[in-house]
Symmetry: C2
Subunit: 163 residues, 2 copies
Amino acid sequence: MKPITTLVTIVAATASFSLYKATPAGAEETMEISPDESRPADEGSADHFSGNVSVKPLFNPNAVRTFSSAEVTFTPCARTAWHTHPAGQTLIVTTGTGWIQQWGGQKQSIKPGDVIWTPPGVKHWHGATDSSAMTHIAIQDSVDGKPVDWLEHVTDEQYLQNS
Amino acid sequence: MKPITTLVTIVAATASFSLYKATPAGAEETMEISPDESRPADEGSADHFSGNVSVKPLFNPNAVRTFSSAEVTFTPCARTAWHTHPAGQTLIVTTGTGWIQQWGGQKQSIKPGDVIWTPPGVKHWHGATDSSAMTHIAIQDSVDGKPVDWLEHVTDEQYLQNS
């Protein structure tokens, strides 16, 4: 998610004195359509993911909107590393079947239409199951321009626990 | 979108003194999975939509998250009324082909993967085309608990202009 993180950092730094969500003076008032093909997917970094992961940027913060979003597709057995979100994260599962686990908790199955809220600071991972791909839309705010804090990889033993 | 609007109002009123996005004292630190089947779709109100529209709630604001989201499906010819969003709105098209138009602008086609940002106060409508259904995910913040201000219906003449 490097490109998004970088953009988030820039935008958040620029907008860091704006405490309220309102129309800033001089904000443009034209609808913006971002075509699908203008935002190609990137391979998820091996530093932050295991297996084949595709990260498609959806939108970044702007002068009004504080949150960002990406669509992430995990092939079977692929998953994030353990991580936390300083401002929390919302996931909307769109296709396939996945697993998600909070540190110290049970691994849980997630399916299309499920929505997951991970509160700030909660250590967790998410990804595909070992037999099915999974795609979710991820939406998150940032704290000081940072939407995520990456930790260690999820080992195969952790990943396959209670399967 | 009445159930969401009501919930947004309640939550926003409760949280109206929280200016910063951080973990409030006593916030729960457990991941929350909202199963798809726990949020049945509602029919879009005839006051705010034309044609057959299905509104499936995805998530409401909580103690940390300020924005809400719903998945909206329009059958061919169905569309919103003209409306504005006090804090803007982001749409992610997920299936089908749709139309979107800003007041005074040209009607534009939107397709899966397209992301649309409508700034605060911009009068517009969105919906299916006359020959294809369209589904989008809508994400919006609120101002004083209000995510949308509804206006008059889009007439057939306005809807079919330049088709």
